[in-house]
């Protein structure tokens, strides 16, 4: 049993390397470094904060792209190119293929996130040394918490991409579905906030708010997982009071998606 998972894990790593994952990861690191460095020139009074802020945003946009590419490589192409004729003929359960590969995908993403996190620490201390700010960035424990919440956001997206990779009949649907989900789940909470505070832009703000609020029962609030103000301004008050519930609900959602993916693969009929 244990052997099988490990074999799937290693196969997944090999598949990802064959698909030039390493080069993509290096590209992501370069883009994040460039974006953070260049944007710091535009932060007149807070260059390190702006650099860290743009760095977080770049990571949050590029990592889902990697998730999609990995999910296409590890799941969609498996069925597309009929690799399953080989990989599923051994005497073993289908779930071990899915879980082994999912864990491999997650491991690669977390390693990359770790590298990016260290890169940001170096950049922030370098830029912070050039111009002392009134409110310095907090790169210690608050930064770690922010990165953990971001990892959870990526876990939910990876679980969704896995599910789509199993059920979708074309690889491009993994891309569309994951990014569409990401866009809605990350923005609806903030849009509800803006409509209730700002107003003025639409006539019937209350009606919009009520109908958007329904989304809260269908999608996890990924926008709330973005607690970067904790690290940007270094004030513990920016940690939302309901953070245990936030973590638990997102984690439960990811597990549910993954279980759904296992169930879908068990019942999948291959032509």
């Amino acid at each position: 049993m244990n052997m099988q998972y490990r074999r799937d894990f290693l196969t997944a790593l090999r598949l990802a390397l064959k698909a030039k994952f390493l080069w993509m990861a290096i590209g992501v690191v370069l883009v994040v470094a460039l974006a953070a460095l260049l944007s710091s020139y535009f932060g007149a009074r807070q260059p390190a904060t702006v650099a860290l802020d743009v760095g977080f945003s770049t990571i949050r946009l590029l990592m889902p792209l990697l998730i999609v590419l990995l999910a296409q490589e590890l799941f969609s192409h498996e069925f597309d190119k009929r690799y399953y004729l080989n990989s599923l003929t051994y005497p073993r359960g289908r779930h071990s293929l899915l879980l082994g590969r999912f864990v491999a995908m997650l491991a690669m993403l977390l390693v990359l996130l770790l590298v990016l996190g260290l890169l940001q620490v170096v950049l922030a201390s370098f830029i912070g040394g050039l111009y002392p700010q009134a409110t310095p960035v907090a790169m210690g424990q608050p930064y770690l918490v922010v990165m953990l919440f971001m990892a959870l956001d990526l876990l939910v997206l990876a679980a969704l991409a896995t599910l789509l990779g199993v059920v979708a009949s074309t690889p491009s649907f993994v891309l569309i579905g994951t990014f569409g989900f990401m866009l809605v789940a990350r923005s609806y909470g903030a849009i509800i906030d803006l409509l209730s505070s700002g107003g003025g832009q639409v006539g019937n703000a209350e009606g919009y708010r009520a109908s958007l609020g329904v989304l809260g029962y269908l999608l996890p609030d990924l926008g709330a997982l973005d607690i970067r103000m904790l690290a940007l301004y270094g004030k513990p008050e920016f940690l939302p009071a309901d953070w245990p519930w936030l973590l638990l609900s997102s984690l439960a959602y990811a597990i549910a998606l993954l279980a759904l993916a296992v169930w879908a693969l068990q019942r999948k009929r291959f032509a």
Partner: protein, 279 residues
């Protein structure tokens, strides 16, 4: 079988002919008069949020950069545009330091104090540890709105947040309540200090214009005090020149000018179409 193929080819030809003819026809009919849009378009905060992939911080950052780079052309500030755009940024991320700082420097002292002060108010609430926005906000409330109660409240807030300057803020609040000080001189000192601390030459040039504008106000108010000591109430600014107190009225580099209202000389405000003066 062959006639079938020709028939579909015929249909292709027919379709393209009809398409070409109707597009020619459409091109000939005159287009309806396009509504004239004045000023640059500002995208509302919720739409910006979606455009930037649901990331309000990225939207706030890139908008601030864009405003810093394009809102100011050849040293002239497009105030009407900046007013609306910076308020959207203040909704996306009210804690953004560059945004409130630029809004205070360029909007508040450029004739749009109500909008600049609103950006400051949001920054004061979001940056609950920072004394500067609270001080700016309190000062603007006293200087522009004459709202002494709100001003002392904000200055007290600044004093609570400050580690080194609490006494100064409290003293200012008390002086405001006693109405015992010439606020334009303090404002001039303050703006001059801000200008000298600016490292960007273009920002410095822009703040310099506002310093010159404020210096004109100080000169005018001094002359008015002299005038009123001798001749009684001043009825128009030109009287200062007629009575020989000033060689000429001071020139405002922002070309907004000064005005006499309710017995006091004030900085003339920007007139924005559709916005009533509520002071």
């Amino acid at each position: 079988m062959r006639s079938q193929a020709y028939r579909s080819l015929l249909l292709v030809l027919l379709g393209f002919v009809v398409f070409t003819a109707t597009s020619q026809w459409r091109a000939r009919t005159p287009a309806p008069e396009a509504p004239v849009i004045e000023g640059r378009v500002v995208i509302a905060a919720p739409v910006l949020l979606v455009l930037f992939g649901g990331d309000r911080f990225l939207a706030a950052n890139l908008e601030t950069m864009r405003l810093a780079a394009t809102g100011v052309d050849w040293g002239q500030v497009d105030t009407g545009y900046l007013i609306r755009a910076q308020q959207e940024v203040a909704e996306l991320n009210p804690c953004h330091e560059d945004n409130y700082y630029l809004a205070n420097g360029l909007l508040t002292w450029g004739g749009a104090e109500r909008e600049g002060t609103e950006v400051l108010r949001r920054a004061m609430h979001c940056r609950f540890w920072d004394e500067l926005p609270a001080f700016f906000y309190g000062f603007n409330q006293a200087f522009f709105n004459k709202n002494i109660a709100e001003a002392s409240h904000a200055l007290e807030l600044a004093a609570q947040r400050s580690s080194g300057n609490a006494a100064g803020f409290r003293k200012l609040a008390i002086m405001l309540q006693a109405e015992s000080f010439a606020d334009e001189k303090l404002a001039l000192d303050y703006l001059t200090q801000q200008r000298d601390a600016a490292s960007d030459p273009r920002l410095r040039a822009m703040l310099d214009k506002r310093v010159i504008r404020l210096r004109g106000l100080v000169v005018l108010r001094q002359a008015k005090r002299l005038f009123e000591k001798r001749n009684g109430a001043l009825t128009s600014l030109e009287q200062l020149v007629e009575f020989g107190l000033l060689p000429a009225l001071p020139e405002d580099p922002l070309r907004l000018g000064y005005e006499l209202r309710e017995g006091q000389i004030i900085l003339k405000k920007m007139k924005i179409a559709g916005m009533e003066d509520q002071s």
